[in-house]
Symmetry: C2
Subunit: 342 residues, 2 copies
């Protein structure tokens, strides 16, 4: 049976390089010519992932159940599923997914339906970083919360993005480019754990750089979608003494600012620098100029959740109640430049 | 057990209204006050979909296997899964999904892995409308192709969008607004079945309206993403005698045209009308002004595929080899107006 390791050895590259390429995650991480060689060789040799290549040899289901909140309407849900599936396959497991369509009342029934189909472990995925009630399940079936924190002292392991670190890095990126009047467009109210964390990161970057915080540069909108930000973008960009840079809670909000700026004759990045959050491919790459943003590590979180569930299943993880924070790196495109001269 | 029918009867609305609301598909289809009442009542009564509410009473798996091409990277894949899951639940089945990440060599192994887990029927989903080789499977396990056509005379049923009808409707919408110079931005080469079908629809609308076809108004780009269209958009919009309207193969291409138009001081829709295709929520709704486009019926196709698989499983579908075409309707937003006076 041909493995990723065989391909790696034959081509003299690392196994993780082969894994990135065969999971279509090589862009910006693996040199194009190497990726091409890995793909060509895998195809020539008829590479098939471990799990799919072999039959079921035991009576165990070798299946992990994943309860997802909103696969259909949240654009990054697919990356979490892909990450969880990728890690599960490497360990010889399939993933069985039920999407509750965002109706949290269904988490319990969905979990029972998966347990009836003999899943060996559970991943409970939220649609955004928040508290999650883990449905009742037998002790023998480990549960991991994905993109959320278990509520009420539940001992489940969990994985979340490092929102605070990501926001700090984004703000430091703007400070390093020379900006001193940096706006923050956040989400109002207490819906998102991430909004408080990202605000802390934004403020912390200022404090560490010895810069004063100006509360008049902090704004908020009701949700992270584009249309709800058009009005605020007009207010901010037409206001007196506007910021030279804006750090937005989401790429979609940054898209609103970019479009409104264009109608006002404000050039990005010459007149206004923009940084988003999420690295939503279909938004950040689609903007003119391309949007500098922060990677929400959905694929990596999905991988971590599945690996952790399987490790616990095999008794390989001692502690429980671990909360893993995955770093969120700045992804540079073309929407940041030094501020215009005053 | 409380059903959708009970809620419908109690509130004096149709079952399909309740289904639209409880599947979060009511926007633009069901009046807001009615949707609110349905949601409130369902929550009050603790409504749980049929399948999830009951246990497995037979030794059958009551599971349908779905092999998906690219859940993670194709933004509408989630809608196909949600549609298939919704129909499966109504019939008392769960959906088990394997994503091959776009590697078609894995279709066979993925299908075998699902069959080993006793799925009763198979749905093979493509990432876009194309020919699909249905992997070998027992005759007793019906297979349906979703968003594709079975290759090589395979007798599987299949469901695809009516690309030609959708493109005709989009072009007729522009003609009705008064446009006579309507550009078409299509995808080059033979990759997409849809590009030839949409071209036919565009041309047919002209012919039916008695308008001449001008080949100099047909352009193409290598793929449906935004960045590959920036260059063409500049050429088209800065060229002599530019079209008054452009019908784009995808919403993402329309986003490229809108952004380039903004940098050139060309106003949408006053100076240039735009129509897209897909109704990708995060693009069409995010544009300023909102994009008039054509609905790719991914949810409806997913529903059809799961229903058909289950009907065949129960011997309720006689014919095989049915190719179902789902209509693609124009979704009006704000990117179309009459052409500017010459």
């Amino acid at each position: 049976m041909l493995t990723m390791k065989d391909i790696a050895e034959e081509l003299g590259v690392s196994v993780s390089t082969v894994s990135l390429v065969l999971n279509d995650r090589d862009r910006g991480r693996v040199r194009q010519d190497i990726a091409d060689r890995v793909r060509a060789r895998a195809e020539e040799l008829g590479y098939v992932p471990n799990l799919l290549a072999r039959g079921l040899k035991t009576r165990r289901s070798r299946t992990i159940g994943l309860v997802a909140d909103k696969v259909a309407t949240v654009p990054f849900a697919g990356q979490m599923l892909a990450g969880a599936q990728s890690a599960a396959w490497e360990e010889g497991y399939l993933l069985m997914v039920i999407d509750t369509g965002g109706n949290r009342e269904l988490d319990g029934p969905a979990t029972r339906a998966l347990l009836q189909r003999d899943v060996e472990a559970l991943v409970i995925a939220a649609d955004y970083h928040r508290e999650v009630s883990v449905p009742p399940h037998p002790r023998s079936v480990p549960a991991v919360v994905l993109d959320g924190r278990p509520a009420d002292g539940d001992p489940a392991d969990a994985v979340v993005p490092d929102d605070e670190g990501g926001a700090r890095a984004a703000t430091e990126h703007l400070i390093a480019a020379g900006h001193r009047r940096i706006g923050l467009v956040n989400i109002a109210g207490g819906t998102f754990v991430a909004s408080e964390l990202r605000r802390r990161g934004y403020q912390d970057a200022h404090t560490r750089a010895g810069l004063p915080l100006d509360p008049s540069l902090e704004w908020s909108v009701p949700d992270p979608s584009t249309p709800t930000s058009f009005g605020l973008a007009r207010t901010v960009l037409q206001g007196p003494d506007r910021p030279t840079a804006v750090f937005c809670f989401s790429d979609q909000i940054a898209l609103a600012f970019a479009q409104v700026a264009a109608t006002l004759g404000i050039r990005v990045p010459e007149d206004l620098s923009l940084v988003g959050f999420d690295n939503q491919h279909f938004v950040a790459d689609a903007m003119l100029p391309g949007l500098t943003t922060v990677q929400l590590p959905h694929f990596a979180m999905g991988e971590w959740a599945a690996r952790r569930a399987i490790a616990r299943l095999h008794g390989a993880a001692d502690e429980s109640g671990v909360l893993e924070r995955i770093p969120c790196a700045v992804v540079e495109r073309a929407s940041v430049s030094p501020p215009p001269s005053p």
